[in-house]
């Protein structure tokens, strides 16, 4: 291109938010189904939800909230010019994300060992509402886990960019990736009470 590259941070941020809206609506479809089936068979949902591991769920909630904090601190730190603090905070965030995924893996593993997964013998024999609950549980947390993975990868990428000292607009890039990470947290904020605390 012969023309000077055009920088528009406010425009980039608008674009990022618009993208976040699409993510919101994507999960919204799953929450819509959850709401409908909860209204149909509340007892089944309560019984099924009671079997989820509240300790792991709470631990993961704390992890995501903390990682949201560290990303926010990283953004502020970069704006203040504290690059090593930024990098440290990003490191903690990615660590939180990885521990979250490991926890999630244990949780899924335990459920699958108890013969609870879509189409398992136990769910086919049980109440319809329970089967629906677990199908939604796997789909929603699975889709969320994919977002955690992608978010962590993006954060790592930004971290390397900043460490490599590429100064052009890295603040804006970090801010936008940070927004994405907060969205991952936001979705979990709704998953947690709806799936783990329906008692």
């Amino acid at each position: 291109m012969s023309l000077a590259p055009h920088r528009d941070e406010a425009g980039d941020r608008l674009g990022m938010w618009l993208f976040l809206f699409t993510e919101l609506l994507l999960f919204g479809g799953l929450f819509l189904l959850y709401g409908v089936y909860l209204a149909r068979t509340p007892e089944d949902f309560i019984r099924a939800g009671g079997e989820l591991d509240l300790v792991l769920g709470t631990a993961n909630t704390v992890l995501l909230i903390t990682s949201s904090l560290t990303v926010a601190v990283a953004v502020s730190a970069l704006q203040k010019g504290a690059r090593s603090l930024t990098l440290g905070m990003l490191g903690i965030t990615v660590l939180c994300a990885l521990i979250f995924l490991v926890n999630k893996g244990f949780e899924w593993r335990a459920k699958i060992d108890h013969d609870i997964y879509p189409g398992s013998k136990r769910l086919l024999a049980g109440e319809g509402g329970e089967s629906v609950f677990y199908s939604l549980y796997y789909l929603t947390t699975g889709l969320h886990a994919l977002h955690v993975l992608l978010g962590a990868a993006l954060l790592g990428w930004v971290g390397f960019r900043i460490r490599g000292g590429r100064r052009d607009g890295e603040g804006a890039v970090l801010e936008n990736v940070g927004l994405y990470w907060h969205l991952v947290d936001l979705v979990w904020i709704f998953i947690f009470p709806l799936y783990y605390l329906i008692l």
Binding site: L24, L25, G28, R40, I65, S68, H182, F192
Partner: protein
């Protein structure tokens, strides 16, 4: 154009305060889930979740400091989702 935002740096103190509030709210929502509230239960859980979401969006995601355009856009997205869910319940509740 008219929506230019001054870069607003949020202090570490504020961020940590929000984090503490989020943890407290998480504790609250677990505690509330142990109390038998009947159907109110879901609404209480959702109410607290909305409060937490507002904190994350407002402070962590800087929405408090953004211009009218982004705020209106967010409102549009949320209202759209609410309409999609709400109108579906005309079917679910009356079937």
């Amino acid at each position: 154009m008219s929506e230019q935002r001054q870069t607003h740096i949020i202090g570490y103190g504020t961020l940590v305060l929000v984090w503490v509030l989020l943890l407290l709210l998480t504790g609250t929502t677990i505690a509330v889930s142990r109390v038998d509230l009947g159907a109110l239960h879901v609404w209480a859980a959702l109410g607290i979740a909305c409060l937490k979401a507002a904190l994350v969006i407002g402070i962590f995601m800087h929405m408090r400091y953004e211009g009218r355009l982004l705020r209106l856009s967010l409102l549009t997205a949320l209202v759209t989702l609410a309409i999609f869910i709400g109108l579906t319940f005309f079917d679910v509740l009356y079937r």
